[in-house]
Symmetry: none
Subunit: 189 residues, 4 copies
Amino acid sequence: MNRRGPGRARSEQARAAILDAALTLLSEHGYGGLSVERIAERAGVGKQTIYRWWPSKSAILAECVLDGDGAGLVLPLPGSGDIRADLAAWLATAARYLDDPARLGLARGLAAAAAEDERVGTALYTRLTLAARSALEARFADAIASGQLRDGLDAALVADALLGTVMYRILTGDATRAPRLDDLVALID
Amino acid sequence: MNRRGPGRARSEQARAAILDAALTLLSEHGYGGLSVERIAERAGVGKQTIYRWWPSKSAILAECVLDGDGAGLVLPLPGSGDIRADLAAWLATAARYLDDPARLGLARGLAAAAAEDERVGTALYTRLTLAARSALEARFADAIASGQLRDGLDAALVADALLGTVMYRILTGDATRAPRLDDLVALID
Amino acid sequence: MNRRGPGRARSEQARAAILDAALTLLSEHGYGGLSVERIAERAGVGKQTIYRWWPSKSAILAECVLDGDGAGLVLPLPGSGDIRADLAAWLATAARYLDDPARLGLARGLAAAAAEDERVGTALYTRLTLAARSALEARFADAIASGQLRDGLDAALVADALLGTVMYRILTGDATRAPRLDDLVALID
Amino acid sequence: MNRRGPGRARSEQARAAILDAALTLLSEHGYGGLSVERIAERAGVGKQTIYRWWPSKSAILAECVLDGDGAGLVLPLPGSGDIRADLAAWLATAARYLDDPARLGLARGLAAAAAEDERVGTALYTRLTLAARSALEARFADAIASGQLRDGLDAALVADALLGTVMYRILTGDATRAPRLDDLVALID
DNA sequence: AAGTAAGCGAGACGGTACGTCGTGTCTTGGT
DNA sequence: ACCAAGACACGACGTACCGTCTCGCTTACTT
């Protein structure tokens, strides 16, 4: 039962304050402007308390992604019965979600962290791809059964393509130049 | 023509050495391990020569992407006549290209730079998306005319989806876990 | 007593190494060739550790002058009973002391520091003038009582004149061109 | 007669502007804040024009000292007939002269330059000591003849002592703490 | 008059040092 | 054993100057 030696227990308050400060600073100053020192100051915590539990600032972010609601990035797929409409609505919601500069900044920052540290990439994969993939697999089975989609459609590939396109637009800053995101659904047979 | 004021002219040799050193170090040490100091040392150049012409290390990378062959990232789309086979081959080539750790590191580093600095994102957009989009548009017109693809298919969306999927896998480090990249083509109606 | 807040205590070892390195480098390379970077390297210390405690390299030198034996610059006034002979001997000792290039370099360097930073000047004043003045005052009282000197002689003025002449020769590099330093005593009535 | 080859002649205007700018900047920002780059900018001159004629910034200052009125530092010794009164007046004038912050700054800056570069020290020696010494020698001969001073008084030593005391006070910033400068004359028998 | 050559303002070059910020570690006193 | 605070050695930042090296231009002496 969670055996521990003697001594003071880990402060849950400090942990939460650190994760919270990390996300706030990430969305405000970007990944480059994020430093352990600032996180510590903002969280009202000693640096050692951070280094005791995380090996690097990207590890903190990885935990942010996995913690709670995944930094708010996991949007639910609507379930109206019309799979194409649901996907289009999901994409439109994502686009609207990213219109908020703070949230776009957060997403850019997490992308930067993922590009620099494999473990953040893995965390994002776990949170985003796996969630999307499992949601899609169940819905695709229904949709194929009801004739809305052709048989053999690979939910994993679709998840990759949808999330990848969103991520690519975040990186290239291409929100306005490109066609509307929800038209993506038209590509799917 | 090419009027110049007084004073010594900018050294093209220094400029080329800087861009070259930046890409080499990026693929070797990642974006986080890339420092202006090291670029200067490797290029045999004073730091001021860098700061005179570029405001930040990401600006150097943006110029790398736009310069010459776009850091080797722009792969040609084969032209066998079978559009689906060509796209699948292009994706397979991209996957093989990224098997080389140095090239994967370079791509990850550029993704990190894009996530942190809008201008690198714009440069990548210019080099990758626009190139892919225009290549696709010409080929799609032919393919639709010859009945290989259905009418109305949007080349820009397909370009986003293909590049986005590749980029997403680079970020999430998901080369092996996911289905084969060239099956993506199967999604296109 | 000696109350301290939280946090690691200041390293006395680092402080001593910095002062020592500063004096060594000053006598070797002169004030112009003295850099914080080199002091830090020689002392085996980070630059920040220097800037945390001293605002500039001249402040370090000011502390060197005040610390311990005042960089060896404070020479004792002999006490034979013959005040004129003692002063002449003191001046001769000073001249011999400055024959060593390292010590002359140190003295020149401290003069440069004093000329550039008022606080070094104040430190020198404290260490040299005040020491000389108080030594002279006691001796002058005896010498006047015993009829060696006329009444009313101002020890402070004599201290200024003696030290000033030495300093002036250091600055003008005029060790050989001018009359012998110990003849100075002949000026005093 | 001043044989010269072909080519443009040296610009006397540039030379004067450089010396002028050097002295101005020296009194404004001190020796440490004096840079060839700033001299060039202030004088409206290319850096190369400076380096063509002077090897360093201290060489410029040495020439300033020797040029024209010796940067205004050479004060004339009054000639009332009473040698003690004249010396006291000369010291009082010097003290008043140095009350002006710009002139004190200039003197401090030249002292710093002298401490760092032997040639500036030599220039100051030439300008100040030699001038004072020769003035004193003539006056001392008269004063000894008229019984105002005892025989055998060494003008060179007195010059050193007077100038040295003034310089020492400049360096130690000790204008107010010490006894009045013109009382120095009382030391002379 | 044309040719030649040195000096000129301007400004980029390879470097060194600056003073600041951040890293990850260590130490202190307190919980 | 953990915590806030904070000093430590180290490395990179972006800036200021160093002394050198072109540029295109302006004199001035030499044919």
